[in-house]
């Protein structure tokens, strides 16, 4: 790929200005520029239109463009802020910003809630949690009996559903997540702090380790 000048952004006016994105997110300008390298790679992997389609997202996550997955779908949908079926660069950066180590915990807690509120009802219902546990078991080599799943969901709801109404509302979730910060670990990508080292910035041409690509 070599050195790419920042003129790149002028040639593609549909991509948001990195300075604006940096101001509105936890990323620095050079981090946004580094993310652009990653974005280009993903958004040109199948459809060369500079937008990330669901298949390209699946390809990037699973090395398989056809692999359908509940969690990947949820993330894709949340990244797709404009709800137009594709993720553009601005949506990509703004959404990834939530995962930055320096993003406030409150933002992560809120994002996670929306992620788990599968049907967008404003609450996490018992059935949704059950469905997610099953989805996880399906995708992995783990096995749990139906009774064990029920028990785990029960235990969790006992801890989280404080008013015992069968669903977890945003305040209960905030309380629960604050008491159990480990369950938000998938909401932070430490890697994002080093993104400029992995994806060379526009000016520098650094050697990228083969294993990282």
């Amino acid at each position: 790929m070599g050195c790419v000048s920042s003129k790149q952004f002028n040639r593609a006016p549909q991509h948001e200005d990195p300075a604006i994105l940096a101001k509105e997110t936890t990323f620095s300008v050079s981090e946004v520029e580094a993310l652009f390298e990653l974005f280009k790679k993903i958004s040109h992997s199948i459809f060369r239109d500079g937008l990330i389609h669901k298949e390209e997202f699946q390809l990037a996550l699973f090395r398989n463009s056809n692999k359908k997955n509940l969690f990947a779908n949820r993330i894709f949908d949340l990244f797709d802020l404009k709800r137009n079926g594709v993720i553009d660069f601005g949506e990509f950066v703004r959404s990834l910003s939530i995962f930055h180590p320096e993003t406030p915990l409150g933002d992560k807690i809120a994002f996670a809630f929306r992620l788990y509120d599968l049907r967008g009802t404003g609450c996490i219902e018992r059935e949704e949690l059950h469905e997610m546990v099953l989805a996880l078991l399906n995708e992995s080599d783990l096995f749990l009996s139906e009774e064990a799943v029920e028990k785990i969901v029960d235990q969790t709801f006992k801890q989280a559903d404080l008013n015992d109404d069968g669903k977890i509302d945003p305040d209960e979730w905030k309380t629960f997540a604050s008491k159990n910060p480990a369950l938000l670990k998938n909401m932070t990508l430490p890697y994002l702090k080093d993104i400029t080292m992995v994806f060379p910035s526009f000016i520098l041409n650094s050697e990228v380790c083969e294993e990282e690509l």
Binding site: L38, I42, A60, L61, F62, R63, N69, F71, A72, I75, L96, F99, Y116, L129, M132, V133, A135, L136, E139, S140, D141, L142, F143, L144, S145, A148, K151, I152, V153, Q155, T156, Q159, A160, F176, N180, A182, L183, L184, K185, N186, L189, Y191, I195, V198, E211, E212
Partner: protein, 125 residues
Amino acid sequence: MRRPKSLNAFDIIASSLSFDLSRLFEERGERMHFMSGALVADIIAKLEEIAGMVSIEATRNGQKGALAISSKVFELTRELVMVQVCKKAGNTAEYRRFCDNELKAGMRGLVVDALPPPVDPDECC
């Protein structure tokens, strides 16, 4: 022995590899999980035996430097734990070989990997 950390359903979900966006950036994280109804002490002893070292973080010299794995045990319910094994260092192919050959074979007796035979309901509650 210290009781393993307790996991709730959200912890399990959060450990889903497909939720792991770091895969967008790097080679797939080398991690595996399995369930066991065995005693934690037995699991650890078995892991140590397999890895051939005395501590939980076991290393072994392979072709491209030491292969290091780490393991964590999490409690799901009173009868069930989830064991997570990660590659910490070393050659990925060698790690996978280790998992497919030694680890899986050695852990077979302790792993829940099929529907258990019908048991008295609520016996373990």
